[in-house]
Amino acid sequence: MSDVYVLGVGMTRFGKHPDRDATDLGAEAALEAIRDAGIEPRQIEGAYCGHVFQGMAMGQRVLAHIGLAGIPLTNVENVCSSGAVSIREAALSIRAGEHDVVLALGVEHLTSRFQGALTPDPDDVEATVGLTMPGIYAMRATRYFEDYGVTRRQLALIPVKNKANAARNPMAQFQEAVTVEQVLGARPIAEPLGKLDCSPVTDGGAAAILCSAAAARRLNGRGVRLAASSLRTGTVDPEPVSMTFEPLTNAAARDAYERAGVGPGDVSLAEVHDCFSIAEALRVEGCELFPRGGYLHAVERGEASLGGRLPVNPSGGLLGKGHPLGATGVAQVVEIVRQLRGEAGDRQIEGAKVGLAHCRGGKAAGVEGAACTVQILVR
């Protein structure tokens, strides 16, 4: 089985793009990744496209736009992990020896499909009594405060950190820092969470070119190794479990560490799925990057900021960069590749060697979460 490398990456500016569509955004990202990889488009042998709400043949529409129609393509829907799973599927096709060079794409034009709070599928029993995605995380935050004795004010430091990082990222939806007072004073969405604790509705595309070890050497010699790409689905627990620790995240992370041959202490930066402020705490603790219940204290000490011990969401994360569902998992890999290559500009983490990307999403009644990926990239 071949090692897998990321040869090139590209993404659109994340934000509201009322005069563009998902095809157009996907094409821009794909063409940039091809250019970044320094390959000829016809060297791409297969493609995967992650999206959630874009309808039939999303990936085919992008390929048709960029002259690549004809190659094998699979569309991937795995809620907010869709883009991350397109990377995983691309990697598996390379490991299996089927392809040498593969395009992994994620796109979403969410502003034309959705407004307000995202909800589980309307058939789900919890949706029928009024569950929203912010509502789930709000209830986790309520319980997290109770279990660990931390405060709403400490939680507000997460959006403050991530929006400050986004202000250094020209591709991010938000370009301005916010204060703790602004986070606390924002319109309530699901208590204790307010508008600035929630990721926005975003349009965007992101793409990566993956290849085998042999192709990486032959093509541009500066690939970043994708050392693990792990996927788990949420379990149905035979009894109620804590909502302030994520066994799903933990299972995916442990699998990824084992496959990559690294531990949490080796990680130089993490891009984690901060769909809501509290989610970042649950994710990094689930990945064992910070002690359980200890993350908000670590954020307070600056450990997770740029320049800290372990910067979390240097790109701005979902809270700052934006969250175009299907594109999110690919965009995390875009950020890590740029950090590991030393090309992250104003937000460069010196000497970054190992990056972790965590993505998860979705909800069904009685299941902790629908899908979770943890990917580890090594320079």
């Binding site: 307000g116 709070a117 909800t119 309307p122 029993v125 919890e126 949706a127 029928t128 009594v129 009024g130 569950l131 929203t132 912010p134 509502g135 709000a138 209830m139 986790r140 309520t142 319980r143 109770e146 319109r187 309530p188 969405i189 699901a190 208590e191 204790p192 969470l193 379990t235 149905v236 627990d237 035979p238 009894e239 109620p240 909502m243 009644a365 009685g366």
Partner: protein, 117 residues
């Protein structure tokens, strides 16, 4: 987690909620499932208790168009060992005791029981 102490609804009184119970290992599930996630045994229908304890809560201010906001959501742990989501009529607190009541729009909701602890 409490697993005993709360009587199931008396015979002849229909339970508001039905879950599943595993005859082999005793695990309970809500919503109902077909197969036990612990032992893979075939599950049976089981009525759920009407009273439980609030595990966590929120007040939702932004929701799908079908729901008038704000409303309170609670996750309630029932003595059978299942956690059920519902709306609560009133203000929520972790650990408070609540009970099910029928609701025209939602099918069921919770209401506070006395003063609780």
């Amino acid at each position: 987690m409490t697993t005993a102490g709360e009587p199931a609804p008396a015979a002849g009184v229909a339970a508001l909620l039905t879950g599943s119970r595993c005859p082999a290992c005793g695990a309970a599930f809500f919503p109902p499932r077909q197969v036990c996630s612990r032992c893979l045994g075939k599950l049976e229908e089981a009525p759920l208790s009407a009273r439980g304890t609030v595990y966590t809560h929120t007040v939702v201010h932004q929701s799908a168009p079908a729901f008038e906001t704000p409303y309170t959501l609670v996750y309630v742990d029932l003595p059978e060992g299942v956690r059920v989501l519902g709306q609560l009529a009133g203000e929520a607190r972790i650990g408070m005791e609540v009970e099910l009541e029928p609701d025209e729009q939602l099918g069921f909701r919770f209401r506070p029981v006395g003063e609780g602890s």
